[in-house]
Amino acid sequence: MNTTAIVEQIKKDIRDNDIVLYMKGTATLPQCGFSAVVVQILNRLGVQFKGVDVLPNPLLRQAIKDFTQWPTLPQLYVKGEFVGGADIVREMYENGELKELIDAKGIKVTLK
């Protein structure tokens, strides 16, 4: 898969899934502390999300950083919009903004 195809796949994933988390590792086996923090937050909020592991695919790992002009991982998307990395997601979770955003976007809480 070349970079153009990868970018198309990114656009498709963030369009077709309410919540997408580009991360190192998987939701069940995060490979980086920052990715694990965001997975934990999403699990606490009880929302479904698509985890995309960038570790096996260096082209994807670079493409997502270029796509958002954001140099690090993880990267969280809600309804196609880039929300932020671990710091911003944690800050938003702690001050209730993340729950507000998810409710405002009509994303159902399914796992409780």
């Binding site: 140099p71 932020g84 710091d87």
Partner: protein, 82 residues
């Protein structure tokens, strides 16, 4: 890879001259920092934009020479100055 507190502070100040920076080397390896940065330039900007200002100041080192930088950005506004 690693960066010193001085290097990081200098780079940030080049792009954000009024920045008040508190840097903590969380693991003592000069590669995992926690930074709290106050600046006037953050005023009126979203968190993403504020953090992007800092990442741009670090000129591509972020995620390369500097592995992890946990960021807290705080806008200095007119009211917060009084």
């Amino acid at each position: 890879m690693a960066m010193t507190v001085e290097e990081i502070t200098k780079l940030i100040k080049l792009s954000i001259p009024d920045a008040i920076i508190k840097l903590v080397d969380q693991r003592g390896d000069q590669d995992h920092y926690q930074a709290t940065i106050h600046s006037n330039l953050f005023a009126g900007k979203s968190k993403i934009q504020q953090h992007q200002l800092v990442y741009q100041a670090l000129k591509g080192y972020m995620g390369g020479r500097l592995h992890a930088l946990s960021l807290t950005t705080i806008a200095i506004t007119e009211t917060s100055k009084k």
